[in-house]
Amino acid sequence: MFTRRDFLRTAAATAILLGGPDGLRRAAAAQALTQDDLLRFDPVGQVTLLHVTDVHAQLKPVYFREPSINLGVGAVEGLPPHVTGTDFLSLFDIPRDSPECYALTSVDFANLAATYGRVGGLDRLATLVKAIRAERPDNTLFLDGGDTWQGSYTSLMTQGEDMVRAFNALKTDAMTAHWEFTYGQDRVQDLVEGMLAFPFLCGNVLDTSWDEPVFDSTQMFERGGVRVAVIGQAFPYTPIANPRHLIPDWSFGIRPDMVQAHVNDARAAGAQLVVLLSHNGFDVDRKLASLVSGLDVVLTGHTHDALPRVVTESGTLLVASGSHGKFLSRLDLDVQGGKVADFRYRLIPVFSDVITPDPDMAQVIADVRAPYEAECTRVLGRTDDLLYRRGNFNGSFDDLICQALLAERDAQIALSPGFRWGATLLPGQEITVDDVHSMTSITYPAVYRTEMDGAMIKTVLEDVADNIFNPDPFYQQGGDMVRVGGMAYTIDVGKPMGQRISNLALLETGETIEPAKTYVVAGWASVNEGTEGPPVYDLVANYIEREKVVTVPENTSITIRG
């Protein structure tokens, strides 16, 4: 899938993963990986950008398995980030079983997890951010790409307040947003105006009545004598991918002309470095960078990609910082005459076990969790198998959710959304309420039970497939492919819209799913207002409690072509 030409199209920058050609490798070989190894960096230039994105409310360390399937279509086929597993190791010259292999791929994940442990945790992240700020006090900007306030029990219970407190404590300089909007427009406004201690930048959000901006687009900073403009770009398809009724008065969109106008305004106001803090998704940002001039850096988000090197597109540097607090990106920039003359990049893996937790942040986390700690840590059962979600098609935790949907709602077919978020559980690990919420914690959780005919089921699959595999990234709205239970299908990702899905079959009987025949379907995360049913997190928790030990057989019901 991967060719030499593709390799040459990634920037062969001075980027060094993990502190030098053999930094972590040697440290790991000596079984002596340290915090200093993670922080080691030879600074360059006047500006240090620190970036996290898609933390999904993970206050505490987690396991997180990167995808084994992440297909690119059209012009980006085989290009990073659409490279996984051993292809990824070859592309970036990473040895098997190394810390980088564990952090960046799914190769031998469960075994390596036993060696290298958990990742993330905001108290660990705080230690790294403070150390870099101490080293570069007048040069550093810490930026959050959004999907921060959603994804945990405590974020749902506090309607995002726990994460606002944590990111205030991190002295964040600016953020943009996506899942934040699922708390509804009133709650977002309340938090932004009443509690958030830093700018909430969304230059592409307009009110639906007058097309006027709802939020600031741009914040100007001065770091190391350089005027830096940070422009925020919220997830362009929020009202489509998530319920529009929660944000009825706001309109989104990629709006390349508007991005260009923000860049031009920033330059006119004296910006020497222009940064887009984006939640577009990597492929959308790559295309946007080819259309917009004067943009120096795009800090990408949404698609959860973790790339150990910067990718360049039309002279713009694209950074991909992963998700769930697993990585902190550091990009040092030397700015001369309003242009980036030199840069150095490191994707720092936040290996929880080797970083001393920051006591201040540890206290914030303990405080926000205190009212919920007993419920969060309540053990529901245990898993025999590796449970994960991320990947283009069903992950094993999705299969578990589909098992629960079929059983608890007495359905023939289960549909579960292709979200990218959700931490990983190792074989033998206990499953807690925290773990279930990491996979399901949304503000529209009702599990519906309905009848659909076979034609409708195919339409659903075709529609979602085009939202991920349309060759033009500007037409990609979705997360990953909708997960299914109780049925099999074949997908040809290279086919045009409406022609990718075939061979739909009902698993319980093996019979073909007929267009005119009706089936009982259970699913969750409907974007329709007024959907009724029990909340998915309670339904899944009940199922696990009853099963006590869950097993998830390998899913062989989806055939992928193209």
């Binding site: 989104f252 037409y475 979705g478 409907s526 959907t531």
Partner: protein, 158 residues
């Protein structure tokens, strides 16, 4: 900016639903028997009526979302590249949707005094389809722009 506006009616909307969003889904997905979508052939017939030769591609910029947030009210803005002088100006712009039961969305008329040949409106789209704008100049020549707008069932954004 325009002195006449005819809006094509759309009798049904088909897709503003989530996947599996409840009992309304199945009903909403099915078009009534006998109601067919316009299709590109019907749009071509309208263009043939309007223009003697095939319209030149380009010159008409269409500002549309790639994916509609709400298929019931999709914003569309067109701008025709024309000097708008007494010698050379846009007389008419026809906006069409090739997947709606009635493809004509709106017809805009201009004079040199209009200054620019640009206008915005909102339209209802029955589903994913192409939006076509054909501009006719005062000398009878025509040019056109086309863009695909997806109307999706939504959800799943991760």
């Amino acid at each position: 900016m325009h002195d006449a506006l005819e809006t094509g009616g759309v009798s049904r909307r088909t897709l503003m639903i989530s996947f599996g969003g409840g009992a309304t889904v199945a009903a909403a997905m099915t078009l009534s028997p006998g109601l067919s979508l316009a299709g590109e052939a019907e749009v071509q017939a309208i263009i043939d009526q309007m223009a003697e030769a095939a319209p030149a591609e380009g010159g008409v910029d269409l500002d549309l979302p790639e994916i509609a947030e709400n298929g019931n009210t999709v914003p569309v803005t067109f701008t025709v590249d024309a000097p708008m002088t007494a010698d050379s100006y846009v007389k008419t712009v026809m906006v069409m949707a090739d997947g709606n039961p009635q493809p004509e969305v709106a017809r805009f008329h201009f004079t040199p005094e209009s200054g620019t040949a640009s206008a915005s409106t909102r339209m209802r789209l029955a589903g994913t389809q192409g939006i076509i704008a054909v501009a006719q100049m005062n000398d009878g020549s025509t040019m056109m722009g086309r863009k695909l707008v997806k109307v999706t069932i939504g959800g799943c954004g991760g």
